[in-house]
């Protein structure tokens, strides 16, 4: 299907949190493949395990309470879960970078942005001060911040949210990573800035050729950016397909429900309320038996309440975890 080299291959990843109230299976068997230079979207509601998946790739799960209890994360064919902390540090920020949701708090208030981008560079490259300053200014320029030389010596509080997110992107891309993980990177920004940042990320992706894993609950963002989309629900991937196919013919009832709940401008004006998925995300302490979506699924049968469906490839490249996939 995809002839490109596989960059990241996550197999049956399971990350649990051991809290005082019980065990939370935040990620319970997620599979995800990212090819070199591919833009992959990971979509789901709050608490479905998207961010935990991202943090698991970088092995940044706070322990305790969190622990990766099973699965494999292959990066260039090597299992990241078998690497020691020292080896992981060499990968973080160098081969795999991450940008976070809150640009307002993701930068250290006591250092200039130049200092912070330089730090990301000098942690992984043996270069002297002048060289790293030159590279930092290049990076500030690359992410579209005007007057890089002046901005170099400014503090985070002197910049807007959009500018700070650009700084975060500059930091993340400073070592030419092969994979950029964007964890809700545009969620905290207003729509116009969001569009600018997405444009920037897409432009840089084309220019630098890195793969991007976009984590979001916003379907519009992945529609714009991603080639492949995986939909997560309650710690598992329920559907995975190309972006085009996901939007055109969703096969899992959950994906279908999500897409139905987006207002469409092309439809005639009616007074009908927007369709919504009934019920709530299951409590992580009490996962339903069988298919995790069954309590909210309009098509659920006795079988769905008893057995858990496997993820199956229905058509080439289109995987669905459902006994009764919706006909395309």
């Amino acid at each position: 299907m995809d002839n490109r080299e596989v960059l990241v291959d996550i197999k049956n990843l399971r990350t649990f949190f051991y809290t005082e109230d019980g065990v939370v299976p935040a990620v319970d068997g997620i599979d995800l493949t990212i090819h070199r230079g591919e833009v992959v979207g990971l979509v789901g509601e709050s608490g479905c395990g998207k961010s935990v998946t991202a943090l698991s790739i970088l092995r940044l799960i706070p322990n305790p309470p969190g622990k990766i209890i099973g699965g494999e994360i292959f990066f260039h064919g090597q299992d990241l879960l078998k690497k020691n902390e020292e080896e992981m540090r060499m990968i973080r920020g160098d081969k795999i970078s991450m940008i976070f949701q809150e640009p307002m708090t993701s930068l250290n208030p006591v250092y200039t942005i130049g200092d912070q981008i330089s730090e990301a560079i000098t942690l992984h490259q043996k270069i002297d001060g002048a060289e790293s300053k030159k590279r930092t200014i290049e990076m500030i320029h690359l992410v579209g911040i005007p007057e890089p030389e002046r901005r170099f010596s400014q503090y985070p509080h002197e910049m807007s949210g959009g500018m700070r997110q650009r700084v975060m992107i500059a930091m993340a891309l400073s070592s030419n990573p092969e994979l950029l993980i964007s964890d809700e990177a545009t969620t905290a920004l207003d729509v116009t800035i969001q569009a600018q940042i997405l444009d920037l990320m897409r432009g840089l992706q084309k220019k630098l050729g890195m793969a991007i894993l976009i984590i979001t609950h916003n379907l519009a963002v992945v529609a714009e950016m991603a080639e492949t989309i995986s939909i997560a629900y309650a710690g598992k991937i329920v559907e995975s397909a190309s972006a085009k196919e996901t939007f055109k013919s969703p096969r899992h009832p959950y994906t279908y429900g999500l897409l139905q709940s987006i207002p469409k401008f092309t439809e005639k004006k009616t007074n009908e309320p927007l369709p919504a998925i009934e019920g709530m995300v299951p409590s992580p302490y009490h996962m339903p038996k069988g298919c995790r979506f069954n309590p909210r699924c309009p098509f659920a049968t006795e079988k769905c309440r008893e057995e858990e469906p496997e993820i199956l490839e229905l058509t080439p490249g289109h995987l669905v975890r459902c006994f009764y996939p919706i006909e395309s």
Binding site: R89, M90, R92, S106, L107, L123
Partner: protein, 300 residues
């Protein structure tokens, strides 16, 4: 329009808070804090007294005037603060005693803050058993009645300036450790710490480069107030006779020496007592003002 605004700013009738850098803003707020300014003037006075005074009044603090005539002189031209029981010039002893007291205050306050910061950083950052171990140790240190042990320690370690500093530091770091631990517990949840992990920074780097500078504002205040506390400690230890030893002067041992003559020559106790009082009060006022000026949530 925009040009006009810029022009108006250049004329600068009144600067808004955004025109300042952080340090500039703190300084500006400090100058408007009355109590802090009172404290600052007291400290400037003391510093001038102690460091410039000896240049103006050149007398040997340890030189004794032989004979009964030299003892307990009342203030005069020859001895502006009079002489003490050995016939030594009190003013000169005040200068050099003050230097020692301030030196002990600064060094022990800064050292105990650094040790407290180290303990607090490690406990707060690593959490778990490291936190339990270090904080229970801190609690234990806080529950020891300080004075008997201070005296015991001072008599074991010997008597001298560095011994006093060591003793004050041993009993002075706990409050800072708790302070920093509390701060680090909240700071380490900040996203910039997670971001630092994500660019591959090591634990040491995150503690010292990313967390420590963010606790500095609080630590500076705590050190300032700590200097006053350390001077009091020095005075108390010296007063009890375990501190700075004769013939060298410190404000504390001048007090100790003077207590036997309190009814005959009360001025011998008033001068060092007043100096300690002014210095400690100055540091406390200034420290309080600094705390208010550093806190951006307080409107001044």
């Amino acid at each position: 329009m925009a040009e006009k605004v810029i022009e108006a700013k250049k004329k600068g009738q009144k600067k808004s808070s955004e025109d300042y850098t952080y340090v500039g803003m703190v300084f500006h707020r400090l100058t408007r804090h009355k109590l802090a300014m009172v404290g600052a003037f007291m400290l400037i006075f003391i510093l001038l007294f102690v460091f410039v005074g000896p240049l103006v009044w050149r007398a040997n603090p340890n030189e004794q005037i032989e004979g009964l005539e030299g003892m307990f002189n009342v203030p005069s031209r020859a001895h502006p603060m009079g002489t003490d029981d050995y016939g030594r010039d009190v003013l000169a002893r005040m200068f050099f005693g003050g230097r020692i007291s301030l030196f002990i205050g600064f060094i022990s306050a800064i050292t105990s803050t650094l040790i407290g910061a180290l303990v607090g950083l490690v406990a707060g950052y690593y959490g778990g058993w490291a936190d339990d171990l270090l904080m229970r140790f801190t609690d234990a240190m806080l529950s020891i009645p300080t004075f008997p042990l201070l005296i015991a320690l001072a008599s074991v370690l010997g008597k001298g300036v560095w011994q006093i500093i060591l003793v004050i530091v041993i009993f002075g770091w706990m409050v800072d450790a708790r302070l920093v631990r509390g701060l680090v517990l909240s700071l380490k949840e900040q996203e910039y710490v997670e971001a630092a992990h994500a660019i591959g920074a090591s634990a040491n780097r995150i503690m010292w480069r990313h967390l420590f500078p963010n606790t500095l504002a609080v630590l500076i205040v705590s050190t300032t107030i700590g200097i006053g506390g350390a001077i009091i400690y020095e005075a108390s230890i010296s007063f009890l006779g375990f501190g700075v030893q004769a013939p060298f002067a410190s404000w504390g041992n001048m007090l100790q020496n003077a207590q036997q003559f309190i009814w005959n020559s009360p001025r011998l106790i008033i001068y060092p007592g007043l100096a300690i009082f002014m210095t400690v009060l100055g540091f406390n006022f200034f420290g309080d003002g600094l705390r208010d000026a550093i806190d951006p949530k307080l409107k001044l």
